[in-house]
């Protein structure tokens, strides 16, 4: 089924740019630590002309532009947060693959916890409901009298 996504994506790519590979040899930093940081950042940034690809994976020309932009800012000594802020100011939150925590996404981030709580509540309610009829119901006076009579009868027979 992912086939279709790929097809759509390919249509985009084949019109957008000739296939080059994602990160290019000449853009890589000599400093391994800085390169590592750059790659981490790339993985969290969406390629805006692709379908669900990060700029780290993407072949598109725009993705490379974005990578170079981020690299420039890294070299300038900006923090990850500053770069994120810059990207959001320029392209909107859509550019971040890790959705920020804000009123519009509270429900999204809370969904695993809410789902688990709902599940636990349902399971607990089901267990309680099922246990209650199994609990012994007190005998009525009538039943008690009959039981006493039976017991008395047993004793007499012995």
């Amino acid at each position: 089924m992912r086939v279709l996504a790929i097809v759509g994506l390919l249509l985009l790519i084949s019109h957008a740019a000739p296939p080059v590979h994602a990160v290019q040899p000449d853009e890589i930093f000599a400093d391994a630590v800085l390169e590592q940081r750059a790659r981490e950042l790339f993985r969290g940034v969406r390629c805006l002309v692709c379908q669900n690809q990060s700029i780290d994976d993407s072949d598109a020309a725009l993705a490379q532009d974005l990578r170079l932009l981020i690299r420039e800012r890294l070299v300038a000594g900006e923090s990850d947060e500053q770069i994120h802020r810059f990207l959001v100011a320029r392209y909107g939150e859509f550019v971040l693959l890790d959705p920020p925590f804000r009123p519009g996404t509270w429900l999204l981030w809370a969904s695993p916890v809410l789902a688990l709580l709902a599940g636990v509540a349902i399971a607990w309610a089901a267990l309680r409901r099922r246990r209650s009829p199994a609990e012994p119901v007190a005998l009525s006076d009538d039943e008690r009298a009959r039981l006493a009579a039976l017991a008395a009868g047993d004793e007499e027979r012995q």
Binding site: M1, R2, V3, V7, G8, D57, V95, L116, G119, A123
Partner: protein, 659 residues
């Protein structure tokens, strides 16, 4: 002519499906045997008609009949035969035809194998299958007819997308559909049970094997797709949390939960209404997956409007099917007889916890996948939910699940002795601790991810083996061989599948945390070094395939000064569609893959050479294969294979702990 026959067969199948979907229902309500029996013959006729329609379309592909629009748009006379055939389902219309064909095949399988089923239940199951078939056949006939003719006839076709011309992709959709559609059987059984208002003892014995078959196929389908993405796309990744992938992952998660809760229904006659709900949900996610992919809604909310007929039809079908089933559930389930009791600390309790976590995981993936769509539709805000979100939400839900998977199988039914279980698992805890320590010491940098991941995998593998050796009496009693043979196959199946999960986790951890990459601009003679390997670019040659031109880059792989192999990544050009693809070359060894892909370079002489060392990646496929095999082994269990239930053996008196 053959195409027109195929079209007629499709219409016939639709009409027969309508009959199958209504007459047996009336028959079941009136206890009219003749009307109920119609379901059987209808299922047979429907399958034959659809097989005819599918054969007609396949014939058009094989003979390259470009007067058929679908063939002209998706095939080419020069395409290799394998891809002419797989091209039948490599497009929207054809894949929907495959969908209904598989659905009809499952319907007939129920009709033929259901000797032991009560006639009324069987009639209703077949009727639900018929209604589902009619719904989808109506969709095909109204919006996605593969038999539309084209005039004038083009000289040649537009070819199948080159990326899809691959053996992995030839078999990925059919496996996936077997899984998706396989859940329809559990769904139909559940709806039939709801109509009836009770869960027949035969019900559980039937639902589990069908679920198992569907689950195994779906697992194989997802793994094939993932494997294809890994070696064909040239990015070296195997899972992207792409909405289309999630669309197949959600039914898998729900199906896995169903598989486990069905055990409780079968063995202990408990969790009945929950299992019915899960069956509805699992198939609901299968339908939703189809909807998400087919309607174009994933590309953007607005793409939905590009072809509103298709999207709207599936949406209505989805709403009617799932909404109807859920309404029926809300109406009938509370009245169903409660199942047997159990303590929270018991095998049943463990399986309930398994279901809770899997349901949470399913909900997480579902919300993550659909949230951008809803937010956009509701407020116009655009937000992306990508891999980082799923890593920080889905993975934490999975960790306790794996921990639990090690404990659960050792718990006794009804009421378990937790202390005794932990005593037996001391060795597993030691193994997990040792693996954690070793990982911590041996890896570069002290990242906690691999430590936790590998320790959990070791815990799961060790405790699974402890459970299995305990059952077969290894190291203790004589007659181990006899016990291995005597143990129900479903027990071996579970052992294999859980071990497969442990192996898979190792693979996922290795690749996620320890992958190394080198990217160089290279000319012949250039050398790249990576993870102890020395890779030399020997030369660049040109070649050609049946329908493409290729450029083959020969790489010599050396280790410790000795040549140990050769890699030949390619770049291909498919002139018909004017597209280029890259063919990665992979040297796969148990401890990891050496992966090479080439791209265009700085100058015409240069090539961008991209090398990865991806540790433990083969474990991902091995783990998936073990899970599938485990499913099939379990399916071959005699109790399930025989199918016809023996009335004398109630679920409670069966030997406890087959699974």
């Amino acid at each position: 002519m053959i195409i027109e026959l195929g079209h007629h067969a499709l219409v016939l199948a639709f009409l027969v499906a309508l009959l199958q979907g209504t007459v047996p229902l009336v028959g079941a309500a009136r206890r009219d045997r003749a009307l109920m029996e119609l379901g059987r013959s209808a299922a047979l006729v429907q399958l034959l008609a659809l097989a005819g329609a599918f054969a007609a379309l396949t014939h058009a592909y094989v003979t390259s009949d470009f007067s058929v629009l679908n063939v002209a748009e998706n095939s080419h006379s020069m395409k290799p035969m394998l891809y002419k055939v797989s091209g039948v389902w490599g497009n929207h219309e054809g894949s929907m035809l495959l969908w209904v064909l598989v659905l009809a095949a499952f319907g007939l399988a129920v009709a033929l194998r259901g000797h032991g089923l009560p006639a009324v239940l069987k009639a209703r199951v077949l009727a639900i299958q018929g209604l589902l078939g009619a719904g989808f056949l109506g969709f095909i006939l109204l919006t996605s007819n593969p038999f539309v003719r084209l005039d004038p006839v083009p000289a040649d076709g537009r070819d199948l997308n080159p990326l899809l011309q691959d053996p992995g992709l030839a078999f990925h959709p059919p496996m996936l559909y077997l899984g998706y559609v396989g859940f329809s059987v559990a769904f139909s059984f559940s709806v039939a049970a709801l109509i009836e208002g009770r869960v027949d003892p035969a019900w559980a014995r039937w639902v589990r094997p069908w679920t198992l078959a569907a689950w195994s196929a779906l697992t194989a389908g997802i793994a094939l797709g993932s494997w294809w993405a890994y070696y064909e796309l040239g990015w070296g990744g195997w899972w992207y949390w792409d909405p289309v992938e999630n669309a197949s992952f959600m039914p898998w998660l729900a199906g896995t939960a169903l598989l486990h809760s069905a055990i409780v229904v079968e063995k202990r006659d408990a969790l009945k209404s929950w299992t019915i709900l899960l069956a509805i949900v699992a198939f609901g996610f299968s339908l939703m997956g189809t909807f998400l992919v087919r309607s174009g809604v994933l590309t953007s909310v607005h793409a939905f409007a590009v072809d509103p007929d298709r999207g709207l039809y599936i949406l209505v079908l989805l709403a009617v099917t799932i909404g109807g089933a859920l309404a029926l559930f809300a109406f009938r389930a509370p009245a169903m007889a409660p199942g047997s009791l159990f303590r929270p600390i018991s095998r049943e309790g463990g399986l309930v916890a398994n279901n809770l976590l899997l349901a949470t995981a399913t909900a997480t993936v579902c919300v993550g996948t659909l949230y951008p769509l809803f937010l956009d539709a509701a407020t116009g805000e655009k937000v992306s939910v990508g891999p980082p979100f799923f890593h920080s939400t889905f993975v934490p839900v999975m960790l306790p699940l794996v921990l639990l998977a090690g404990i659960g199988p050792l718990l006794a039914w009804k009421r378990a002795d937790l202390e005794g279980v932990f005593t037996r698992l001391r060795v597993a805890a030691l193994v997990a601790g040792a693996v954690a320590l070793l990982t911590w010491l041996l890896q570069h940098g002290h990242h906690p991810g691999p430590v936790i991941g590998l320790a959990l995998a070791a815990w799961l593998a060790a405790s699974t083996l402890i459970e299995w050796t305990g059952r077969v009496g290894l190291f203790r009693r004589r007659g181990t061989a006899a016990r291995i043979i005597g143990l129900p196959r479903s027990a071996h199946g579970m052992t294999l599948a859980h071990l497969g999960l442990a192996v898979f986790i190792c693979g996922a951890v290795g690749d996620s945390f320890w992958r190394r990459e080198v990217v160089v601009d290279a000319t012949p003679g250039a050398v790249a070094e990576l993870a102890g390997y020395r890779v030399v670019l020997e030369d660049i040659r040109s070649g050609s395939g049946p329908n493409y031109e290729a450029e083959v880059v020969r790489l010599r792989v050396e280790r410790d000064g000795e040549t140990i192999g050769e890699l030949r990544p390619e770049r291909r050009f498919y002139p018909v569609q004017g597209t280029r693809t890259t063919e990665a070359a992979i040297r796969s060894r148990p401890l990891g893959d050496l992966y090479a892909a080439v791209g265009e370079g700085r100058t015409p002489q240069h090539r961008t050479l991209r090398l990865w060392h991806a540790p433990l990646v083969p474990w991902i496929w091995a783990g998936a294969l073990m899970m599938v095999t485990g499913g099939l082994v379990s399916l071959s269990d005699r109790r399930l294979r025989v199918g016809a239930p023996r009335r004398t053996v109630g679920p409670v008196t069966q030997p406890a702990g087959g699974d």
